[in-house]
Symmetry: D2
Subunit: 451 residues, 4 copies
Amino acid sequence: MFTEKLAKEKVLRDPIHNFIHVQDHIILDLINTTEFQRLRRVQQLGITGAVFHGAEHSRFGHSVGAYEIARRITEYFEQYYRSKSPNDGLWQPEERLLTLVAALLHDIGHGAFSHTFEHLFGTDHEAITREIIVGDTEINQVLSQVSLDFPNKVASVIAKTYENPQVVQLISSQLDVDRMDYLLRDAYFTGTKYGEFDIDRILRTMRPTANGIAFDIGGMHAVEDYVVSRYQMYLQVYFHPVSRGMEVLLEHLLHRAHELFTASDTHEKDFVGPLLTPLFNDQPLTVHDYLQIDDHVFMTYISMWRSHPDPILSDLSRRFLDRWPLKSIVINDETAPLLEDLEQLVDIAGYNPKYYTARNDAFDLPYDDYKPNVAKPRTQIDFVLGDGTHRELSELSPLVAAIKGQVSFDNRFYFPKEMLNIEPDELFADTFKTFRSYIHNNALTTPNPES
Amino acid sequence: MFTEKLAKEKVLRDPIHNFIHVQDHIILDLINTTEFQRLRRVQQLGITGAVFHGAEHSRFGHSVGAYEIARRITEYFEQYYRSKSPNDGLWQPEERLLTLVAALLHDIGHGAFSHTFEHLFGTDHEAITREIIVGDTEINQVLSQVSLDFPNKVASVIAKTYENPQVVQLISSQLDVDRMDYLLRDAYFTGTKYGEFDIDRILRTMRPTANGIAFDIGGMHAVEDYVVSRYQMYLQVYFHPVSRGMEVLLEHLLHRAHELFTASDTHEKDFVGPLLTPLFNDQPLTVHDYLQIDDHVFMTYISMWRSHPDPILSDLSRRFLDRWPLKSIVINDETAPLLEDLEQLVDIAGYNPKYYTARNDAFDLPYDDYKPNVAKPRTQIDFVLGDGTHRELSELSPLVAAIKGQVSFDNRFYFPKEMLNIEPDELFADTFKTFRSYIHNNALTTPNPES
Amino acid sequence: MFTEKLAKEKVLRDPIHNFIHVQDHIILDLINTTEFQRLRRVQQLGITGAVFHGAEHSRFGHSVGAYEIARRITEYFEQYYRSKSPNDGLWQPEERLLTLVAALLHDIGHGAFSHTFEHLFGTDHEAITREIIVGDTEINQVLSQVSLDFPNKVASVIAKTYENPQVVQLISSQLDVDRMDYLLRDAYFTGTKYGEFDIDRILRTMRPTANGIAFDIGGMHAVEDYVVSRYQMYLQVYFHPVSRGMEVLLEHLLHRAHELFTASDTHEKDFVGPLLTPLFNDQPLTVHDYLQIDDHVFMTYISMWRSHPDPILSDLSRRFLDRWPLKSIVINDETAPLLEDLEQLVDIAGYNPKYYTARNDAFDLPYDDYKPNVAKPRTQIDFVLGDGTHRELSELSPLVAAIKGQVSFDNRFYFPKEMLNIEPDELFADTFKTFRSYIHNNALTTPNPES
Amino acid sequence: MFTEKLAKEKVLRDPIHNFIHVQDHIILDLINTTEFQRLRRVQQLGITGAVFHGAEHSRFGHSVGAYEIARRITEYFEQYYRSKSPNDGLWQPEERLLTLVAALLHDIGHGAFSHTFEHLFGTDHEAITREIIVGDTEINQVLSQVSLDFPNKVASVIAKTYENPQVVQLISSQLDVDRMDYLLRDAYFTGTKYGEFDIDRILRTMRPTANGIAFDIGGMHAVEDYVVSRYQMYLQVYFHPVSRGMEVLLEHLLHRAHELFTASDTHEKDFVGPLLTPLFNDQPLTVHDYLQIDDHVFMTYISMWRSHPDPILSDLSRRFLDRWPLKSIVINDETAPLLEDLEQLVDIAGYNPKYYTARNDAFDLPYDDYKPNVAKPRTQIDFVLGDGTHRELSELSPLVAAIKGQVSFDNRFYFPKEMLNIEPDELFADTFKTFRSYIHNNALTTPNPES
């Protein structure tokens, strides 16, 4: 049968887990598909590398890393929590391969800078993930060899509709294989230490329950440390104001290119090239077209656009490639009233505010307990006590209680750095003076201004 | 002059800081004194090694490590914050040697298991530290070569009475060279990761102010991470219930030996040996006597006491050496009312409760802001903003706010493990049943039950 | 003056050195040039990432890393080996900035896959490096602000013609800032440990001499370990047979594209796109054209070529992107006589041997002593003894003596993996059987077949 | 049965292996014996901590670490190399427990500073190991519960007489669980990097054969790196001249104490105390007496001897405790002829050469192939090729060939440091001048003079 194990496991050398252990034919075949190999050409952290220069790693390493964590968990569950009868709430070994595959493929639909262009171009990486798994792809061919309904099962796990909550929560919950791998990996490649936590201990205290996944009480502090690490990585790395200043540039330049494309005659449209055209012409993207678009394509055309006749597109492209991010100031009660005047000031200085300013908000929920009445209730992190009762994480940890449900939040106004050197017109002199004094002070909420 | 630097620095290889850089004659000479070399014979974490077997490191490494951090800070201050006029709140380079020496010697008065025997035998390690520095010692001879009042200055820094708050706070505050070194060092040797933090970044954001030491706002998250790490080390390592079960044994056996010594005729007193006798005979200890007592002496006599005719002393000694810690249960509203009955039960089972049970409370203040009205107000951790104003740490960090002023707290009742296997008399059967059900559940507050 | 230091240093977070310390205006300005930022778009190890998936780091990080090592060395030299009189063989502080700049820019002329295409397209990265430094570039503008002859001085250091051998050897010798950084960095990103060595100790034993750079005898074992580490990285990582199987594909597909381009009419030439055209049309490349070509451009056009009408170009492009490397066998006395027959066999199987087979030899000199009569004599690694005499490394280390002058060597024949599954014609059956038995055995010289 | 596994494994936190996994009742019970707990009181590296202050770890951690490596190997063997028929040369799962126990207990007979006192007092740690395993001990009681002949089997594995060479070689060969653990552990605690190697890869390429243990050819470079690491640790750490200067002091002071004891009347013999007396009175030591002697006992009596009336014993004791090692010079063709005169000079200066000088030779064989004609032939390290043939390590590795059979060697003459400051009598002036010039130069062979 196709689901057989390899005679001897193969390994990939990995800086985070040391070795990725590939033990199944199907896993090896999935890694060798064209769709999976494409993940080598999509960076994990997009433009964060502009701030933390070590962070140039791709989604390929993260995907095999998430798989490796899933492999360790299922091995452990099989040894200690193997189901003996249906509905005993323990681990059913036949879920192993499905879990591993879902972990490996959870990011398969991600494209280059996908967070940036999804709302610009109306794509939906979740729909694409599903199509890659169930559509006409090499991935689907491999999966179908397991069984005809296997691709749909894999897709349902990733879509969180699969019936076994243990499998779903291992792939996607507040403490899942995805988050565990990317925290460790991003910490390693950025060279920061904030994302590190004791994964070995967490994995040892994980256990299947009737409702999904819980943790032995003995792992409480390791889990607490994980939540705190995640919170710190958000503040220090993922929300870094300078990265966001680069992201704003990227968004504006793609938007400008899209406008120019739309307004152009057919024969002038070829500045976006054949690979990007399907994205720009506002038709639904096919999976095939989507898969052609990787970091390299974007970067190549942005390179070309540096000499595009449109001064805004060429200027933004140059700023992006030469790492000349927009500068920012925190929007708060004191700065908010100034922003309209400032936009006008930017305009007068010769920068179209539509392309040279932005309001950018960073938010995330580091942890929340289960809230039955919200749209998408989160599965909370639960601990099992000696007597079998459960306790939710934030009841046990004052640290987690302090950040529970908190939407971390850093709203900023972006503008060209050149504004700091101009001598403003008398009319705006006061506004500008106040503004500059805030810039002076904005280190207050800049998490890591040095990098 | 004696305060000259070495022609070329010498280094000690250190697992935490890689190299300890010794650049001054006086530092080298202090390290070579008999009093400083004694620190090799006093373990940093006492009996914690019984739980985390890697934690067998001595106070010697910690002392040179704290010195090394002080050396880096003063070098940095000299480069970027050198005082140009009196009272400008900047760093006065002539404080360098004093700071380095105080860092090196801050633990010089610590003896073996000093926390355990201080209240048993009425010694005071702070008084002894002072005597080692100002009394008739090799340390004092070296220090006196700098200047006649130098020993007193060093002692005043350690006693926190020195006039320059910058020097005092570097040696002793909520974020000082002592705490920074021991967190990193204890994390390394125990093999846990909880104590790690970004010391390089913290040192880069430290700065002298008119009132002592503050931090650039850019270092906020690194400092927050340090406070959280410290909190986690307390819960996970320093307050480990099993270590405390060993500490209770040690305390009881020393207490028993002291009682036997006091009750003995002169010719029977020699079971404590010549080195411990000054400690046991309730006379004030001289510095010379104190310095003779190290881990080895205690351990050797406890070894001998295994065959002492007193059954309690010999039994406790054996339990201590063979790592047979007392077992514990958390004292809370439900267990507290049972304890008296339990002590009686322990007694009936043949274990004198005075030596075989204990109530042991662990507490510490992970961080607090300045409270003017308390006995010993703590120097709070302050950040300097871009405009020069200051903000206190817990105002900026919700994580620190959550644990600020909190006295971490884990009150436990200790008893012989054998109690779990006895078949209790009818009279106490109910108490015992309740008791056992709590033991079953006590993982709830056992931070790290595996180790 | 332009050579002033920054009021306060800036830092970049780096996973290898923790922080890169930028202390000079000119260094900051050089990093911010368009030519230097381009290094972010050129991977350090080219297609090695296809074997070690963590190795996706760019030349940007390596360049600032080499700079950081140079910065540490010059700081150390200034403190301990500052020249007091001309020609005393010690360190002249005025060489500091030149050294730092040369370290930062030593790789500025490298292009994407430059080793692969240099001999295909006749480019010369050393000439380009020079042009970037002395030609019409942002880099040149920054350098010229130091002094009119500064660009030429920088270029001469990189070309090894600068008069001060200390500066030249720090940048380029058998133990220079380039090699030290890349060994540590490549070890980190691949996740192998073979490249690690004790850089802190090596830097502490480095010293200027009248003839260049030497080492204190106390550093002998650390230097020995570095040479052995380098040797092991060559065998384990840089010469990995699978990487070379990818490199052969790349070379063949570029060669095929070049042939097609040359044979095409003008209107059919645009399949290589505007950025690559200057490379393909056999005209001398301008610096401006060269700098437009980065990894992204190559990868984007290779992506497009997957659907090129030429079956060889499209097939090779697909194999390259989907990581389907050519397979290999060691060429030795037993296999060499078979190769011609095998090429014929490959041909019969439908693969043009010109594009589907290759003989690829890997060689390098891990260390050699000074050989006066060879074309490019290497500067040997010398140690200074207590009495001031010198000894060469391989005289002191039996390990280094064992690999001295040895050109590590792994000559391989590459062919399509599909050949392993064919059923050969009777005519070649014997050859093929012998051949397969060697493949079976070729693990003998495959350094790291797992990855 | 007693050989059952635990319901759930227990773990010990370990800095090297992260967790030590205890899965069998018998292993847990062995760790809890009084004889095994004693290993906490015997330092792994004896007086090496005087040079590398981090190296204060005990044999306890090393013993559980060697066990953990054995556990991983047997688990791997069971999965991939399980024997299917007798004499198929594969792994017999019933050898698992024996292997684990032998790994855990391989050092059980080691005493404090045992290498130093074995030849002084005529003890034999191998005989003692055997007695602890087969004699009247807690260890023996635990082992006997497995089966009556189990203790003898364990002893035979450690004595290398057990019939299955696979088990013997895992415990004791040129690449065994003992050496693998101590290299990694000593590297970690000293803070040097020379001892690190890629254990994960070595374990993955290990395999049972008919003659013992071999390695897949794919692991060749990892094994080569291990041998080189071991060689470097010998030169850099284990043979450090300063440690040996401390060891000489220890040996001389114990020798002096022994002489005084022998020459004393009964009532004056008690200066060695009850625990050391059995060692000093030249009677055969019982196991019980032997087990009472740990580091603490030696250190405590050396502390007391600082005030012993014999000036030599008290002086040597002080030097030892205050870390005042003898100084040394390499013995070579130039220095050897001077030594007799120098001893006389030392004598004249007031130091009895018998106690204040020594000739100390350090030697070890980093690796050797099998030599049938020597007394104790070593089991060579063999690799298995694709076709099943074997190749010996030094045939494949030029690095190993370079140090094969080489008895590393560093013969030194030790003398009091004070000799460097004396003004010698005219008679010896020339000798002394020559001598001092060699000392000046002796860094040549001092591996790591800084530490």
